[in-house]
């Protein structure tokens, strides 16, 4: 915005579109993971909760990293 960015606005918009697509995929994966875990938990299967929580946390870390990159694009 202030002209100091490495990329032009058109380039940043394209990068952001790509990031949004990846983030949407990750969030949909997390939604699927949550519904599958709830289903297993209600069925009395307690073993899946730990790996599912770890996977979901990893997904969030990825999304947070991408969001951080988006904000760094503007600097």
């Amino acid at each position: 915005m202030n002209g100091r960015s490495r990329f032009s606005r058109a380039q940043r918009t394209s990068i952001l579109s790509g990031i949004v697509s990846i983030v949407v995929l990750i969030v949909v994966l997390q939604l699927w993971l949550l519904t599958a875990t709830i289903n297993a938990h209600l069925g009395g299967n307690l073993a899946v909760a730990a790996p599912a929580a770890a996977a979901s946390l990893l997904c969030f870390v990825l999304v947070a990293g991408l969001l951080r990159y988006v904000y760094r694009l503007d600097r």
Binding site: V27, L46, A53, S56, C59
Partner: protein, 181 residues
């Protein structure tokens, strides 16, 4: 004459230069590409919040599963064998109030007990001993009388089984078995 940075130029929705735009748009210009960029960035932020909420939900389920793993069940005297005829059933709350269970006597010393709520939408199930099933009248779901496994209808999960022990003439509930989805 210096050239302006394209990033600082305001672009109207139709792409024509600002000088050709109507006066109201010249007075209140909207930079459409910039607007799109900011909207996508805000959407990404919203998705990150959603992702955080999902991760918190997963952590909550994990915490609940940890608590459930170390859960101990009390022993509860449910009925006297003489009070329950063969083919008869009895409803009781176990491990505490608000958790209705069904005890069914199938034979002389053959007893089974399951959660009384359908695993579909928690409607109360009805034991039909002559047909060998628990029947849920809400959505016509059926469960096997001896194993609690779903036989037909919308339920996909079995009824949670209550561990029971016969001590002399008295029936005790001693725990709730983990079921598999």
């Amino acid at each position: 004459m210096s050239r302006r940075d394209p990033d600082e130029m305001t672009i109207a929705p139709d792409g024509r230069p600002l000088a050709e735009q109507p006066k109201w748009r010249r007075d209140f210009p909207i930079d459409v590409p910039e607007d799109h960029y900011v909207a996508r960035r805000e959407f990404t932020k919203f998705l990150a919040l959603t992702s955080f909420a999902f991760a918190v939900g997963q952590a909550w389920i994990f915490a609940k599963s940890l608590l459930g793993r170390h859960r101990s069940f009390p022993e509860l005297s449910v009925a006297r064998l003489a009070d329950l005829p063969i083919g008869g059933s009895l409803q009781f709350d176990y491990p505490g109030p608000g958790s209705p269970k069904l005890l069914v006597r199938l034979g002389q010393g053959e007893l089974v007990a399951f959660d009384a709520r359908c695993t579909h939408l928690s409607c109360p199930v009805i034991p039909q001993v002559d047909r060998g099933r628990f029947h849920c009248p809400c959505h016509q779901g059926n469960f096997d009388l001896t194993s609690g496994r779903p036989l037909s209808g919308p339920p996909r999960r079995p009824l949670p089984k209550v561990k029971i022990e016969l001590r002399g003439e008295e029936v005790f509930a001693v725990g709730v078995a983990e079921s598999t989805p």
